[in-house]
Point group: C2
């Protein structure tokens, strides 16, 4: 934590979750998991899968197997993950950026506020939707589930992103749609900012200590002053 005024940077950095935060892909992930789990013999109500999206795939499988009263076999987990990847890939044509994603990232660039993306997903799931950003991806800091030992709600993904931006965790704002983002932000020692665009409710995000909650990237941009970002240098 800052010990004096001089420790407080002028601007925070931003770390964004990907699915449900910048890209409207949560429901496609949910349906792909349902189909994959169904195929390996795990019938689970869809809302229970929805509430696990954003976790690491391994933790998701562990949680759903427990809920389904089933044991954990590595082969079963690998098969379900592989089927999920295949069915999710099939749904890619229906996936869009969320409203305001492009405008928000452009506004941060213009203000020279640095940002990164940190996703529990595997690179093969993340790459196609990252393309939607329409940017040179070599210039974007992206940490995915393959780069760290543990994904959300562990803090590794966010800590890796924050480290790449070379700031202290308490100077980072972590934007995510799921309670796993908020918990991982807390564990990383950063502030979590919630968005409703993944289908979690305001109350669920607030209960996991969201600093603020917005509808989507556009709504966050419209209220970015609440996060201490000065659009005009005079303000």
């Amino acid at each position: 934590m800052p010990r004096s005024i001089s420790d407080v940077p002028d601007d925070p950095v931003f770390v964004f979750d990907l699915d449900g935060t910048l890209v409207d892909s949560v429901y496609q992930h949910v349906m792909a998991w349902q189909r994959a789990l169904d195929e390996v013999g795990i019938g689970l109500a869809v809302w229970r899968i929805h509430r696990r999206i954003g976790m690491s795939g391994g933790l998701l499988m562990q949680a759903v197997l427990r809920e389904a009263g089933r044991g954990l076999s590595k082969d079963l987990i690998d098969e379900a993950k592989s089927l999920h990847g295949r069915y999710y890939a099939e749904s890619l044509p229906s996936i869009r950026l969320l409203p305001g994603t492009t405008e928000l990232l452009q506004a941060l660039d213009k203000l020279e506020i640095r940002w990164a993306i940190a996703t529990s997903g595997q690179p093969e799931d993340a790459q196609p939707v990252l393309q939607l950003l329409g940017r040179d991806l070599d210039s974007v800091v992206v940490i995915d589930g393959a780069q760290v030992p543990f994904a959300k709600p562990d803090p590794h993904l966010f800590l890796a992103a924050i480290s790449r931006l070379d700031v202290d965790p308490h100077d980072a704002l972590i934007v995510g749609d799921s309670v796993w983002d908020m918990l991982a932000a807390r564990r990383a020692g950063a502030l979590g900012v919630g968005v409703l665009s993944g289908g979690y409710s305001q109350a669920e995000l607030e209960a996991t200590q969201a600093f603020r909650v917005y509808n989507d990237p556009q709504d966050l941009l419209d209220h970015i002053d609440e996060l201490g970002v000065r659009i005009s240098p005079q303000s």
Copy 2:
């Protein structure tokens, strides 16, 4: 409201919503609407569609058009509704009963507690999932969106179901997964009981005055004493 003890019936009647309450079909409806709206040129984030499921199709279209900043044309609405019906039908093979649906309805039958189903959906959407109940549907009271002038959150569907069960609204427990069920229950003068199985959160259902909230039909059955239902006649 009851004016004396003699006005209080021994048992309540139950009116169940269908999608997300007895049957795990909300997410399939969501994806079918997204695809349909996309095809008529209305790009809308999926979570916003999810939060409108359970309303009448006409009100859903009115709400999403307003959110998309578009005008309301009857042709456009009819086309989107028709596309939704087609895409939803394609997803029927993946749709299952929610956990405990069969057991809950059997338990009510055994206790001679009457129940009905009231859904905003059109009969062509409702019939295939009603088949999953494995019952003679001629013996089940079903009110659908085609039988009343206004669907949820208007109270007509629930009032029609309650009238068929020949009780006063205040003696009916209305079980649903969406805030539109809770609002329509309140407007009907009945108690709304929430289930989380449609993907709304506990806080959202409680904020719309749910009397109690359970995970799904199985969880409701496991706690049915909380609703004043006596499993054993001695209790």
